[in-house]
Symmetry: C2
Subunit: 566 residues, 2 copies
């Protein structure tokens, strides 16, 4: 049988996406705002929202088809939406050997395709995912608990941005050396020495993506596309509670790969029931040379210590600090912080957890405010923001899993300390089974050892601590120490004092965390924009890498040189 | 006391070296031949050679001064030249705590200096080292055993090239993000969101360079300058038998640092007696975040497994393979291979060890040659090259240490197999105590298990194996397997058959080793040129990194972002 002509010509794909690639290359240099993927839901056509919802609903209760994918015949699944509905979707299961074998078979052709073809295939995958952003929005919503608006944006175009960013970094890195170079070395009066040198990108091997429950696409796409663009077939191992968004991603990737004449098994899915330990098995397979992981510190540390055959990129837990020292826009500061603490019920790795406030109070454009006043006003700002149930639900989303829900119960019961703001249950008309809770704001004192033990560990979810500190200097020191010891994905500060600002900057640089200063408008501490902001630094215990920089892509491949006389 | 005005203005240094930096940036993109450091001894002035020798001789028997360097008062040393003379140089010793403390004190100012100032300081250091290349040549000669011509070139300008290459890669990597970027995100009819974002390079911490016996500068400068240029103070731990070249380097670095207003303890020396285990102590210090190492596989593996707090870059042992399948220039091939095996007595990590030759013979421009004829002709070529003692000494240099000398004795006694070429003792007029040996060429058969056990382990030094193989295909497979299992820094092939050439290329790409094809002139398999050739690939067990690419520098620092509203 003759090989079928690919439906998609790689040359055409390269041409189709050249402009996007060029613009993305310019964007990562300028760091100005840019995105090819509209973040407004209405940009996706008049029927886009309805079509996306219908596409999502058509998946419910069915068997998720992956043509030509390895399988042992078993079906796995069991996802339950944090909004209270069973998804009822079954995914094909395969043994580690079958998955690794299929990826290995796909490896040589993908490795040989070269950087330009791989970038074009990745951009086509992202483009098709982008067109289905509403469908992905529903998939993300009903696996993570994000409210639809956020699930659509963060799980759709913003995740695609981060994927594209990884592709363009990978492309840039792989093309720093010319494919071919002439070398002429003068030899005085003798003829020069001349050589022709060819530089070929050699991918590492297989890549494993271990997805997380809260941001399966946003946290998954950087590693997935960085590995794929550098020529490593990718095994996608989703979190068992958030399989669908990555399963859809795998399906689109496989469609594009097949149409472009590559083996669809260049991207495979390792779907598992909850409680499966297959990630540990896959992570130490000798064929697996790159691992991307987002999740708990304990498993991240395990991967770093045990998956020695692989390059391991981890994002783990941390404790994010905000320092409130002074402001010339008290209302703006409160509004910004209230939204930051409420968004997705604080279930972002970037949400501030500890709000450090000098015990002696702060200066504001509304006069001096005592610690208690600041805390009361912040509680009121959150209350006001979330006063209306429908609006509250649209900001909070739902609590992602029983563990987080349990913490809200503990907080509500005063287990973490005195409550400045008691969490309340928000009812959803549309999803009566949704677990929606407003945040708890707990008053603690940095001088009390019991309090310190509480607020210095990660308390993931809708619980924040208003931490009384001795002074601005003490706040800066606590930010530094918390970041250096516990890790942090973000740091935030409000101050109008140049000395305090300089100290905050110095502490951020010293402890290795990125810092947002005096946010009072529509940019929040927990949000980063691809092509401009780095997500994480890799310089503190919360993560060993960042989205996205040269270090995130440079070691996913190596370069082999072949040289000859001219 | 007021701080003294630095003797060197950093702004002036930046201007002074801007052109070299720009040219180096262009060179690493074009990969054409380029070097700012002349490799001809006469380029260093009429009295350059004599002055360098005198400067070296003035060091002998003395205490090596390092002004302001930490010390516990003890002096260490004991270097013996492979040419049979005692160097008698004593170096100041310091405890790990004192060294780490001094480097830590120097850290903040060097971290804050920024990429441009650091690059300029590094270029000034390299420039001053370059001017003293003859002195360094003698220091390298009398610690490594390299013949003077090679010690001068490889230990001088070529090492400086590799150092500059690391500096320029580090500079490029640190300046991929702008220092400051404006970000403007349209908001439809509302005012755009605007932010100012500052990106600051944050060095990892302290760096440790663990030097080797054979190429203290050539293998040491890439890591030393990559770490220094990315803002990490460097502790230089030389091999106890090759301290002088790195001690001189440290002294020049400290002079430039001090003159430019930095703490000279930004670069310190951990000199030790032979047998010291201080490297193990230093390597796991929490302050040490970057380690560069060249040496044995066992200690390299130990570092990778135990120095978990650090980024570890290693070059370890390997078994380099050459395949002789056919040639249209038999004499050129034999001459090239003879020189490659003889240069520095095969004591290069890049020297071919196993010469695979089909048992059925090869086709050449001089007709078919049987395996035995090829081996005999190669032995004759080596014999001819080294027939004159003075010329032999100038190529072979001296045997670096008693372990290697012992292997030449074993080889001469036939322990490794039948000798096609018996090593002989070369007498040196100038250095009667020098241990100079011509290479042994041992005939082995790839079908014999005992032979395989012998030639498949690294046999560092002047011992090569002429390995009879079944066919060209078997040779390619053996190259692939040896590289994948034992690691290799180089691979070499001679063939005029396009199919065999393609198979060699495929095997090199697959096993991750760079390949030189059909070398018959003045370029040898064991030589790589900075700015053009990669040294190592990081894709096989012989090394986890390469000189020099993005991956070698990208993770020596991180980036912290500070953002504010405009």
């Amino acid at each position: 049988m003759a090989a079928a002509t690919p439906a998609l010509s790689v040359a055409e794909l390269i041409e189709r996406h050249q402009d996007t690639l060029d613009r993305a290359l310019a964007a990562i240099r300028s760091r100005d705002y840019w995105s090819p993927y509209p973040e407004f839901p209405k940009a996706y056509g008049e029927s886009g929202a309805a079509d996306g919802k219908a596409a999502f609903e058509a998946l419910l209760g069915g068997v998720f088809a992956l043509d030509g994918h390895p399988t042992d015949g078993e079906l796995v699944g069991g996802e339950t939406s944090p909004y209270g509905i069973e998804l009822g979707i079954s995914y094909p299961h395969a043994t580690p050997d079958a998955l690794i074998g299929a990826l290995q078979a796909a490896r040589p052709a993908w490795a040989a395709a070269g950087p330009a073809a791989r970038a074009a295939v990745c951009l086509e995958i992202l483009d098709r995912i982008n067109k289905r952003s509403h469908e992905f929005g529903h998939a993300v919503m009903h696996t993570t608990g994000q409210a639809y608006g956020m699930a659509f944006q963060a799980g759709g175009p913003h995740a695609q941005d981060r994927g594209l960013e990884a592709v363009v970094y990978a492309f840039a890195e792989q093309t720093r050396l010319p494919e071919r170079a002439d070398w002429t070395k003068p030899q005085g009066k003798r003829d020069p020495l001349t050589m022709v040198k060819e530089f070929t990108v050699v991918p590492r091997g297989l890549a494993l993506l271990i997805g997380c429950n809260t941001f399966p696409t946003w946290n998954g796409y950087p590693g997935l596309f960085a590995s794929l663009a550098t020529g490593n077939p990718v095994l996608v191992k989703p979190h068992p509670r958030a399989t669908l968004p990555l399963a859809l991603t795998v399906r689109v990737a496989r469609e594009v790969l097949a149409e472009a004449g590559f083996d669809p098994n260049t991207v495979c899915l390792a779907a598992e029931h909850e409680g499966s330990t297959v990630a540990q098995v896959l992570a130490v397979r000798p064929e697996v040379k790159v691992i991307d992981y987002t999740g708990s510190t304990s498993f991240g540390d395990w991967l770093e210590a045990n998956a020695k055959q692989a390059q391991v990129y981890t994002e783990k837990a941390g404790v994010n600090t905000a320092v409130v020292e002074s402001t010339d826009n008290y209302r703006g500061m409160l509004a910004n912080l209230a939204f930051a603490l409420s968004l997705y019920s604080g279930q972002m790795c970037t949400t501030p957890q500890n709000i450090l406030i000098p015990r002696t109070g702060i200066d504001t454009d509304e006069g001096s405010k005592s610690y208690d006043e600041v805390v009361t006003d912040l509680a009121a700002a959150i209350d006001g923001l979330l006063g209306d149930d429908a609006r509250a639900a649209a900001i909070l989303g739902a609590v992602v899993n029983p563990g987080v829900l349990q913490r809200t119960v503990q907080a509500a019961g005063g287990e973490f300390g005195e409550l400045a703001l008691t969490p309340r249950v928000v009812a959803s008309q549309e999803f009566p089974g949704a677990a929606i809770r407003t945040p708890a704001l707990v008053k603690v004192d940095s001088d009390k050892p019991d309090d310190r033990a509480t607020f210095l560990s990660e308390c993931f979810g809708p619980v924040s601590f208003a931490v009384a500190v001795e002074s601005a200097e003490a706040a800066v020191e606590l930010l530094r120490r918390t970041t250096a010891e516990q890790g942090a994905m973000t740091a935030t500060g409000w101050t109008v004092d140049a000395t305090v600002e300089a100290a905050l900057v110095e502490a951020a640089l010293d402890s290795g965390v990125s810092l947002s200063l005096n946010l009072t408008g529509g940019v929040y501490p927990n949000q980063t924009a691809a092509f401009s902001d780095l997500h994480g630094t890799g310089a503190n215990p919360a993560a060993n890498s960042a989205y996205c920089d040269g270090a995130f892509v440079a070691n996913r491949f190596r370069t082999v040189e072949i040289r000859r006389h001219s």
